[in-house]
């Protein structure tokens, strides 16, 4: 699906410039300037191959899955299940039975909170999160606490945006029932030491959910190597469709968990006196699934695999280094999130210009960045800021994009008379 890559720069392994034209949305002007899209952490763009896979599915093969003998239904089922296989391979799941389609990271986390945790939770039980979580990895646990009387324990972060491991090591020993933590922070870009956290948690018998929404698009992820219990991510952050996401979970957990939602497809047999649930992963996929979303996500995985996640990671880390360097040179800038291990994005503030104003001014020059709390208010609280501006990268970005960003910041300073 990915075009053959030309080698124009020195390191052939990180030159992804040929990919850019795969993304039709990038070929447009915004406010008279060519679009610079630096908001992939909120949602990434789709290559033509993904857009086409979805459209072609509807032009030729659509029908409901799993329950039909006719040709279209068979084709739809095959395509849907092939997408699952592609995704299982992409994250190196032991088996396709461990790969549950959800509507996104948010639903994946809610599913774990409600089906895995809720039944066994008692008043006073503890759930361990960190200060840098996205709201989607906070609010489901708050709802669970309200429902059960359990309590949240929060691993602090430091000024760089790194986890306070000393405190973590104490907290993980205090009898927590689950550790639910980001793999990569969406507000700060911090890459958490997942391997180490998981090892620690295992020593104390604590199951671990990783929120991988910001990791999967930017680096190779291997759930077996990580050895986590649950791993959640979203299609739309990895060049796939909205409305589709994945919960990876160890088979032994899924076997024991009650279903999350009830409906068609997740049962083998329904009687009013009682119901037999379907096999994995179907027990957790109630109702008609997001068939075209799954197929689109399968196409996205094939696209990313075609380029290679190693190369994407190398490209982005080189570009992030460049971006951080260029931003640092802007007078009056304050970088938020300066962890030693970082991926794909940089938050910042400029003078006392409110991020929201900054967003408008750079957008006016065709540069799309996100501004605000990034659904991570506790991070904003920690840094004592109402929000930040955040420039986030994907495989299709290049140095020119970074230069355009920096130039647009200069304009902001001008408008605000600094």
């Amino acid at each position: 699906m990915s075009k053959p890559l030309q080698t124009v720069k020195s390191d052939p392994h990180v030159d992804l410039s040929a990919c850019r034209t795969d993304f039709p949305v990038l070929a447009q002007e915004i406010n008279g300037e060519p679009l610079v899209y630096l908001d992939s952490a909120a949602s990434a763009q789709q290559p033509e191959s993904v857009i086409d896979a979805v459209a072609e599915y509807h032009r030729h093969n659509h029908a409901n899955v799993h329950r039909g003998v006719h040709t279209l239904s068979h084709r739809a089922t095959e395509a849907y299940e092939a997408a699952r296989d592609a995704i299982a391979g992409f994250i190196n799941a032991r088996s396709r039975r461990e790969v549950v389609f959800t509507s996104g990271t948010t639903e994946s986390i809610n599913l774990v909170a409600q089906s895995f945790c809720r039944p066994g939770l008692k008043r006073g039980d503890r759930i361990l999160l960190s200060q840098l979580e996205h709201h989607s990895n906070i609010v489901p646990w708050q709802l669970l606490c309200e429902q059960t009387g359990a309590e949240l324990l929060v691993v602090p972060i430091d000024e760089r945006g790194e986890l306070d491991l000393v405190t973590f090591n104490r907290q993980i020993e205090s009898g927590v029932k689950i550790l639910a933590i980001a793999h990569v922070s969406n507000a700060l870009g911090t890459v958490l030491p997942a391997q180490e956290l998981i090892r620690r948690a295992q020593q104390h018998g604590v199951p671990v959910l990783l929120d991988g929404a910001q990791a999967v698009p930017h680096m190779p992820v291997d759930v077996q190597a990580l050895d986590c219990d649950f791993y959640a991510f979203s299609g739309h952050k990895m060049c796939g469709p909205t409305g589709i996401g994945i919960l990876y979970a160890r088979e032994q957990h899924l076997e024991r968990m009650p279903p999350y939602q009830g409906g068609g497809d997740m049962i083998l047999e329904v009687r009013f006196e009682g119901t037999t649930y379907n096999d994995l992963p179907y027990k957790f996929e109630a109702g008609t699934p997001n068939i075209s979303g799954a197929i689109g996500l399968g196409a996205a995985v094939r696209y990313l695999t075609g380029i290679g996640m190693e190369r994407i990671a190398a490209h982005e880390s080189e570009l992030l280094r460049y971006m951080t360097e260029r931003l640092s040179e802007v007078p009056g800038i304050r970088l938020i999130g300066t962890a030693r291990q970082k991926a794909s994005l940089q938050s910042f503030l400029l003078d006392d210009i409110h991020p929201h104003d900054l967003g408008t001014i750079v957008d006016h020059q065709g540069v799309a960045i996100r501004t605000g709390h990034h659904c991570a208010m506790p991070v904003m609280d920690f840094f004592g800021v109402p929000g930040t501006a955040r420039a986030s990268l994907a495989l299709y970005n290049n140095r020119d994009d970074v230069d355009r960003l920096v130039a647009s910041l200069t304009k902001a300073k001008e408008i605000f008379g600094r």
Binding site: E33, H356, T360, H364, I415, F416
Partner: protein, 164 residues
Amino acid sequence: MNRAMSDLSTGELRDLYRELILDHARSPRHFGKLPALTHSAEGLNPLCGDKLKLYLQIDDDDRISDAAFEGSGCAISVASASLMTDAIIGMRTGEALDFAKALIGAVTGRISSEDLGEDSQIELGKLQALQGVREFPSRVKCATLAWHAMNSAIRQEQRPASTE
């Protein structure tokens, strides 16, 4: 930097960030608490995290005898709150509500300020400065936040006013 920025449309930006707006954003009037408040409301803009508390002192005569606000927000929302408090002190609540309606209409583009003059006798005055927002639809909510909060405060609503 390998390409020059065009200055084509800076005009619109200058129109949004007029001197008056920047001035009120930098030095907001009536910023702080109100010791003898009778009404208050919170305004939240989930879009960008703008957050303000509006305090009103409404006398028995139904007149807004004092107004103040606290909170944090972008230049547009702070300037709007500052200009608003300046403007409504001395108005009767009914007048203030009409004024809010007119302002919101004007910045959303539903009412033009000329129409307004003739129809309703409401003069936006300085607040015309907020009309630059019209060209920036994603910022309309910032400009109207304080006004929604005023609405809630006068109507004594419990929930934070939100622009969603």
